[in-house]
Symmetry: C2
Subunit: 690 residues, 2 copies
């Protein structure tokens, strides 16, 4: 799999940069001339508008409409949380798969949303005017306030419109080079229509993750519903091209790449290499061990741990290979050369960067970043309180404190335009597994004690008469926050309800809140602010050189990139761009994760062994592109992005055209499987397939 | 705790160097003048001889004789394996402690030995003559053969002697600058006399490990027995000084520091930093998670996993702080400066290094070391086959192949002089826990598949129709190697017995042996040989400059160092050198690992709250020094080394006199506890205490 949006990663990394070799282009600055020159294809604005509005942003992935009745195609792993929340000890949908033969059988995905980008407005001038002449700290705060105001005004304005209320989100492109408001139509009601068994969706499991050749039917089908409870009418949708793409054919990928780090300075990359990545990986590796061992304690334990384990193993593979990329001298050498070149430009024209040395400014801020890294991760990013219940408690405690404030004075994630998502996530009736809660909470408390030391104030405060196990047990057993109704009451009751609550998880969240906020404030003022300011200076130099002829870094906003279907050369070996059904059965060991589901074995002889299964292309994708359609020059869907090869992980820092490949499910196997294995004739008909 | 000899580390790291700031001095080149000059103390050769022969080398630690009847004082954690092997599901001696009130109640430690260094012979000339004029690869092989021959001849010669047969071991000092034969009297029969509860021996557990202030009674008492089954007569022993040392007092530490890396080149340190340490830590962190979760599955699981978990957590703490030291720019900066200075000496006198650039030679070899690191660790060092049963199988398969060869043609660990220890370890009736075996073997197979990839030949060979779990289960359930009698039969049956065996673990060891040996050969020829040769050139330059006025790197051979009792300044805080009993009770949380045992709570009011508990000194120690006596200028025992502070871990690479401190149990609390808590009057009397 698994080009999932790495949420944890987003939280961990401090600041976004800009610059890409290959190209995650915006729709408003798509290089149509370049595409025409290189591939002879003419993409007009009608094409762009249609593909844009047929592309969907899920909470964690990309997807696309594939029927006029709101049918959405995305990856299996993008729907795994939904499958999980609809599973029980008796019926494990992740393993068994699911098909709603009629619309009334479709299953709600409580935490899922589907956003369609319907408008884009450049607000750079407003932001520039607001922060002009301010120092770093003031500029950082004012920038956030200005964007919060613009978002809110945009949403207010849309409320009267005929097309319905919009979600407005500010977007920082080119590291402060441009600011935009992106306007979305949001479907809040998303339901599950179809998913195959995980055994075939993720055939090869973690060992094969980020590998190619592959044989994964990593697909699922959802449906967007309107506020009226009826299937959404989606005039823009993509038709499936049944034969898939040809080798060498031009293919385009619209989607929401989550984050790239291609313009981080050497000092920032060194912090990642020396501090953030190794520490994260050590914690993650231990948690992986605990999950695996827990999963062996019984069938139900195995079921409830499967989804968190999969996510964790995915992020471990990503981070480990990011670390490898940073340890490989080539990358940093190249980055150093880039810095030398840009510094020379400033030396020739000091006014460019407004005087000063922004690289040195960032290096200084990084010293502070290293000092704050541990308390920030443990206290503010909750690495010391790894628990869904604590997450609810933190949200409730902070929302109660923030919501009474003026919109521009709040912590960023509680600004008015963000609240609906916060509320939805808080109140979604997701299952909470006490055993798993105790495991993760005890683990994280124990590591907090290890890393901060037994004499750190927060450790003394919590563990003076408790062990991590006894504390976690008491908190999880005593808390009522697993009940959505209790959460709703506290959410609606505001500060008074929080003050009155004796829920031990609420008490804990209150107890550590001041210290967490304090370290966040330090991080914002002493790291984020100077880095933002210096990065903007660097971006200005770069922007002046290149303008929008290079694409900005990824920001989980809609992009479009192009490439061709092709394999690569791995050492002395030529990797072909397509895999076929025949080899799937040869590769099966009969043991997880290389076990082909019974449904496939039952029809093995009826399947065309030459059907194309997965394919590689040189499109430039990253986490968040999961579920992106692969479209041909005519805008037809020819594949479904679900992963990249192992070299694609370094794509976070640079695009290596020789090695970096995306990996997709071919429409050939999608249709073959729906037809012969799952006999999903209604679905096929709705997608216009005979 | 836990200055244990890090065996795994020894295995992982490739080559030994030389140079130390502080001083792990040999007994044959002890700087008596320096000591006199700096501390006014006069240590004569009688003192040195007496302390040397009162000091004991255990299999994993240091210890000292404390009575004329073979009584041995060492750390609790040095005897934890012995406590473990004598425990049952009903009686957990690690937790409960143990006291043999009469000698017939003393418990055998099956895998323990006690060595006393009785002779030292310089054989540098013989080795030099043998390798003169050879190329790197031939010199590396010839050096090993020559040392094997010298050892064997030494042991043969001692067989007729009145004092009894000796164990002769070659020692490489100053990275090939000197070769010695060290001659030991070995006690093969070592028994457990006393150990307190782990709750007080390791009060504070992993969180407090390598921390100071501390309150640990990390002691145990063993007894050496002669071949006649009677207590050994040990004329050389140390008397306990009841009042312990004073702040600022001179204290000396005889002991067997395991290994230091103070002369590795920058290229070698970078391999550790970028490759070996992070990869080891990632595997270890996951295994820790599996162990912890396994331990929660029941009381017996908790008992059997405790010892391996403690060892693992110790090594994780060590390696993590080693990695931190290497990531801290100061260390590598200093090393780079040293290299520049030494290179300048060679530039001024090229003949010094025999022409060429030994640093460049090592850097080239390190490129290869990085490539080989993973297969070497997984296949040859058994990180891919983490199982005691597989270890037995590997030993049996290899011993059968090696023993018929001429002594000098064998793999180093099967040379004639090493065989008795190999045999003892193989046949010791240690418990094998199938559940734990499956856990570690499945884990390591799974990581081997992850790291080498599902398509690596060894992975395909083993896992084409199995998962790591099914394979591990089949191997462990099917193997009979847990029975010492079966191992004995195979050991004695030689190659014919191995060929005839259908034990699945033997079959596995045979199946992977060729590939493991092949990667070892590559490592020896393409990494070890050129590094050894280049390091010897560097050592020659250094040796010419300094001679024996600097001590050689640690090699788990007997050393003596001196320092004074003192604390240090941690940031703005002054750390006092002593802790006292009063604070132990204040610090207790009532929860593991901060739970004071009932035996102590019962006599709490009778204990003198001012008794000194643990102490810090600036002696230069490292893993292997665990259990070392801390002696005063008169050669009396005033403390028992059991740990260092957190800064001492970087002592592997350099000694930082400002921060690096050793940590010892004060004799005050040793005697107080034996008297009032354990009422061990026989022991006290034998040690000459009223």
């Amino acid at each position: 799999m698994r080009r999932l949006l790495p949420l944890v990663l987003l939280a961990l990394l401090s600041s976004p940069p800009a610059f890409s070799d290959a190209g995650m282009w915006t729709f408003h600055d798509f290089p149509r001339e370049l595409l025409k020159r290189e591939h002879g294809a003419d993409i007009d604005s009608a094409w762009l508008d249609r593909v844009r509005t047929a592309t969907v942003r899920l909470a964690n992935c990309t997807a696309s409409f594939v029927s006029a009745d709101g049918l959405i195609l995305t990856n299996h792993h993008c729907s795994e949380a939904c499958l999980d929340e609809n599973s029980t000890a008796e019926q494990n949908l992740v393993r068994a798969g699911f098909l709603a033969r009629t619309r009334d059988k479709e299953l709600k995905c409580a935490a899922q949303v589907a956003d369609v980008l319907v408008g884009m407005e450049n607000v750079s001038a407003q932001v520039s005017a607001a922060i002009h002449g301010l120092n770093d700290k003031a500029a950082n705060e004012t920038r956030k306030k200005t964007l919060a105001k613009l978002e809110q005004a945009c949403e207010e304005a849309s409320k009267g419109a005929a097309a319905g209320a919009l979600k407005c989100e500010s977007v920082d492109l080119y590291q402060g080079g441009q600011y935009w408001l992106y306007k979305y139509h949001r479907y809040d009601d998303v339901r599950l229509v179809f998913a195959p068994e995980r055994g075939i969706a993720a055939f090869g499991g973690d060992p094969d993750n980020f590998q190619f050749p592959r044989w994964c039917l990593d697909m699922s089908v959802l449906r967007a519903y309107g506020a009226d409870g009826k299937p959404a009418m989606t005039a823009s949708f993509l038709a499936l091209r049944a034969d898939g793409p040809q080798a060498g054919e031009l293919v385009l990928v619209p989607g929401h790449p989550g984050t790239t780090q291609r313009l981080l300075t050497v000092a920032q990359l060194e912090t990642l290499r020396d501090v953030d990545l190794p520490r994260f990986l050590l914690r993650a590796a231990e948690l992986r061990g605990r999950y695996i061992q827990f999963g062996k304690s019984g069938a139900e334990a195995n079921r409830i741990v499967e989804d968190p384990l999969n996510s964790l193993e995915n992020v471990i593979k990503v981070r480990r290979n990011q670390l490898e990329a940073l340890l490989d001298g080539r990358l940093l050498q190249r980055k150093r050369a880039e810095e030398v070149a840009l510094r020379a430009k400033i030396a020739a024209d000091p006014a460019l960067a407004g005087g000063g040395d922004p690289w040195a400014d960032i290096a200084r801020a990084e010293v502070r970043a290293r000092e704050l890294s541990l308390p920030y991760a443990l206290l503010e990013e909750r690495a010391g309180f790894n628990s869904r219940l604590f997450g609810y408690a933190r949200t409730l405690v902070r929302a109660a404190a923030e919501r009474p404030k003026a919109n521009t004075e709040r912590l960023n994630e509680y600004r008015e335009t963000a609240l609906p998502r916060v509320q939805k996530r808080l109140l979604a009736p997701l299952p909470v597994y006490p055993q798993l809660e105790k495991l993760t909470l005890s683990f994280s408390l124990e590591r907090m004690r290890e890393w901060l030391g037994p004499d750190a104030s927060v450790v003394r405060q919590l563990l003076s008469k408790d062990s991590p196990d006894t504390l976690a047990t008491r908190l999880v057993d005593g808390s009522k926050l697993a009940d959505p109704a209790v959460r709703k009451q506290l959410w609606e009751g505001g500060q008074a309800a929080i003050d009155a609550s004796q829920d031990p998880m609420i008490l804990l969240a209150r107890e550590v809140d001041a210290e967490a906020r304090a370290v966040r404030k330090l991080q914002e003022d002493e790291v984020e602010a100077p880095v933002q300011s210096a990065a903007q200076k660097i971006a200005r130099v770069r922007f002046k050189e290149y303008g929008t002829t290079v694409p900005p870094d990824a920001t989980f906003t809609l992009r479009l990139n192009f490439g061709t279907v092709q394999g690569w050369r791995e050492g002395s070996q030529e990797i072909e761009p397509f895999t076929h059904t025949a080899r799937l059965f040869e590769r099966a060991t009969g043991q997880e994760p290389f076990k082909v589901p019974d449904s496939w074995l039952a029809v093995k002889d009826q399947l065309d062994r030459e059907t194309r299964f997965n394919l590689a292309s040189n499109n430039d994708i990253i986490g968040g592109n999961s579920g992106s359609p692969l479209v041909d020059a005519k805008g037809r869907l020819v594949g479904l992005i679900f992963d990249g090869n192992i070299h694609s992980i370094a794509g976070d820092y640079w695009f290596d055209p020789k090695l970096n490949r995306s990996v997709a499910v071919d429409t050939q196997i999608i249709l073959e499987a729906l037809r012969k294995v799952y006999k999903a004739n209604e679905l096929l008909a709705e997608m216009g397939q005979k």
